[in-house]
């Protein structure tokens, strides 16, 4: 099935890559079957052929008694049933893409049918596990809002997957312009082997515009950020605790308890390292593209307006180096979680101020210009004072002895900005059209100090945008400003069809 994507998105039903059943677990199944047969063949044969016990080796037995034909027949029948099953399940699994929806139907005995509206797409993900890369196949995942509401096309031909992503994004963008380049999905010159090699080595295969990453991951910084991250600090504390325990009691039993967690930590670091090493982020006309992974790669496209909140934060020991991490709240919660089984909420695993600024500018296009760059810089590093943010009053020091100077709120033309924390610094941005609701709260202690907490509600995720201990009058005023701005921004927002406003060209 090497059909071009222009044919894949023509509204008719299409099938997946023929190797899909094998890639989805068929190989594992066959390997298990092989192992079982290899280990238990004597027992198994013994079940069917009781007299075998006298003979020892079943091969000798078969040859000796002239059962060769029967044995071969059994093997052939089993293989045929397996292949037939795979073939039927592949035949019954089909998808189509129209101007409104992507639809998948699958299942042999239990039929399932899933439709995804194109204007509700939260992201398009191309995952290429190692084994699938060998076959030149890729998994296309269409993120939808909601828990486990994603739509997977596994597997497709790599080229077809890239073209299909482009087509889906084009249809979803609301741009009605006929895209001539979509028809150029011809077969590249060269033999099959050459093509496979080329696809395997290309990190993020995109037929016409391979976007340049705006951030490059340095090996040293990645290693350093992992060693100095919160997880490592906890691990070091645990190791120190265990060492003290052993030296005091001379009891080595604790090592047995520690063994599984060492394996856990180790595999976490290896995964994180291989995943982040070839990290890339770049802007395309249809959204930001984030790539991950060394052996198994993930390549995710987030159309504009799919980020519900962004947080830049800094673990304690990253501070001397000026490193930051960028995370996001998104409406889709993928169960497969991309390559290497990590949540897809980290946008930049580690970066310095310049890179964070670049990423923020890419994610929130209204944050452009010297003013917003200095705003980001102040949001991240300022110690507080009179710097444009509405900071907490001095009496908030009773509750936030270190961070009250910095604890501030800012309303920019496109978003709400909050900065918190003097020791563990963080900086949260909520785009105005993505705000779901806003709340102010006050308990008895805050009432005594004439303060209030401000909460901005977005979809569920690692970030909980809020600002504590705000001056009461400021909080009440912000509550009014924010709720009015959220209503206004929600009504003029067209990012669900992000290019609908453009003239057809």
């Amino acid at each position: 099935m090497n059909a071009g994507a222009s044919q894949l998105s023509d509204g008719e039903w299409h099938r997946l890559h023929p190797a899909s059943p094998l890639l989805k677990g068929g190989i594992v199944f066959i390997a298990i079957l092989g192992a079982v047969v290899a280990n238990l063949r004597e027992r198994l044969l013994g079940l069917f052929v009781p007299r075998l016990d006298d003979q020892g080796n079943p091969i000798d037995y078969i040859l000796g008694h002239g059962y060769v034909i029967q044995a071969l027949l059994v093997i052939i029948v089993v293989l045929l049933v397996l292949i037939g099953g795979f073939y039927v399940s592949w035949r019954m699994h089909s998808f189509r893409i129209t101007h409104e929806v992507v639809e998948v139907r699958s299942g042999v005995f239990i039929r399932t049918n899933r439709k995804a509206r194109l204007d509700r797409i939260q992201g398009v993900n191309i995952v290429r596990p190692l084994l699938a890369r060998v076959f030149g196949a890729a998994k296309l995942e269409i993120d939808q809002a909601g828990h486990d509401a994603n739509l997977q096309l596994s597997y497709l031909d790599t080229r077809a997957a890239d073209q299909l992503r482009k087509e889906i994004l084009r249809l979803a963008s609301g741009s009605r312009a006929a895209d001539a380049s979509a028809n150029s999905a011809g077969v590249a010159p060269g033999s099959l082997i050459d093509r496979r090699l080329e696809e395997f080595t290309a990190p993020h295969h995109d037929a016409d515009t391979p976007p340049e990453s705006i951030v490059t991951m340095h090996l040293g910084r990645l290693l350093g950020s992992m060693i100095l991250g919160t997880g490592s600090v906890i691990a070091i504390l645990l190791i120190a605790g265990a060492a003290v325990w052993i030296s005091l009691t001379g009891d080595l039993f604790i090592l047995f308890l520690a063994f599984p967690s060492v394996i856990g930590f180790g595999s976490y670091y290896v995964r994180r390292f291989t995943r982040s090493l070839r990290y890339s982020i770049s802007g395309t006309p249809d959204g930001v593209r984030v790539g991950w992974g060394l052996l198994s790669t993930t390549n995710e496209t987030l159309p504009p307006g799919r980020i519900h909140s962004i947080e830049v934060s800094q673990p304690l020991f990253w501070r001397p180096f000026g490193w930051w991490e960028v995370r996001v709240n998104r409406a889709s919660h993928s169960r497969t979680r991309g390559a290497d089984n990590q949540a897809n909420t980290t946008l930049l695993p580690v970066g310095n101020l310049t890179e964070v600024t670049k990423v923020l500018e890419l994610m929130l296009p209204e944050l452009v210009g010297a003013e917003s760059v200095s705003m980001i810089e102040r949001g991240l590093r300022s110690r507080g004072g009179d710097d444009g943010f509405e900071n907490s009053p001095r009496r908030a020091a009773w509750l936030r002895p270190f961070s009250w100077r910095r604890n501030g709120f800012l309303v920019t033309p496109g978003s709400f900005v909050m900065r918190r924390g003097a020791v563990l610094r963080s900086f949260t941005i909520v785009p105005k059209p993505r705000l779901q609701s806003v709340a102010i709260e006050q308990g008895p202690v805050l009432r005594m100090l004439r303060l209030a907490d401000l909460h901005l509600h977005t979809v569920h995720g690692p970030i909980r945008p809020h600002l504590d201990v705000v001056d009461l009058d400021v909080a009440t005023r912000l509550f009014g400003t924010v709720s009015a701005a959220a209503v206004a921004a929600g009504q003029i927002d067209t990012s669900h069809r992000w290019r609908a406003g453009e003239a057809a060209s």
């Binding site: 204007d119 509700r120 939260q122 809002a145 307006g305 519900h308 409406a331 059209p433 993505r434 779901q436 609701s437 806003v438 709340a439 102010i440 709260e441 006050q442 308990g443 008895p444 009432r447 005594m448 004439r450 209030a452 909460h455 509600h457 977005t458 979809v459 569920h460 909980r464 009461l472 909080a475 009440t476 509550f479 009014g480 924010v482 709720s483 959220a486 209503v487 929600g490 009504q491 927002d493 990012s495 669900h496």
Partner: protein
């Protein structure tokens, strides 16, 4: 003025019958806690358990006394483009939800509330933490409010 007060808010309060519902609920809890405390003291002779249960019972009693005021503090207002909701005296909370953010509206009726003809209306958005649940609405009012919310949400529909 140390409390949160919104200048131009005209609250619609919920039905006073909600006091009876909440009183009954809190009363049952008080009776259970007090009864268990008495049992612990007289039958089991476990002093610490009796003291703990007595503390819980006193808490329930204070709660019982505060119920009427707390019910009077619940209020909502249908503004031009959003729903404003408040509750709490000691722990005040104000929420503003734009109508266009509505994903669905639930109407629930508990057994006691149903006996008094009350309903609870839950306004659900894509954010789990908003928690706008208006208790103590008369059944007819709740249905009218639901239909109104659905119609204004339809005319102001926004994406996620």
């Amino acid at each position: 003025m140390r409390r949160i007060e919104l200048a131009d808010a005209e609250w619609t309060r919920v039905s006073p019958k909600l006091v009876a519902v909440d009183l009954l609920g809190a009363g049952i809890f008080f009776v259970i806690a007090a009864g268990a405390g008495a049992a612990a003291l007289l039958l089991l002779h476990v002093l610490w358990l009796a003291i703990a249960l007595a503390a819980i019972a006193v808490g329930a009693l204070v709660n019982l006394v505060l119920v009427p005021r707390r019910v009077r503090a619940i209020g909502y207002q249908l503004r031009e483009d959003d729903l404003l909701f408040t509750r709490g005296i000691m722990w005040q909370r104000f929420v503003a939800v734009p109508y266009g953010r509505m994903q669905l509206v639930d109407i629930n009726r508990g057994p006691i509330a149903r006996g008094l003809g009350l309903s609870e209306l839950k306004f659900v958005t894509a954010a789990a933490s908003a928690g706008v649940t208006i208790p103590g609405l008369l059944e007819a009012d709740a249905e009218k409010l639901r239909d109104h919310l659905v119609s204004v949400a339809e005319s102001r529909r926004a994406g996620l």
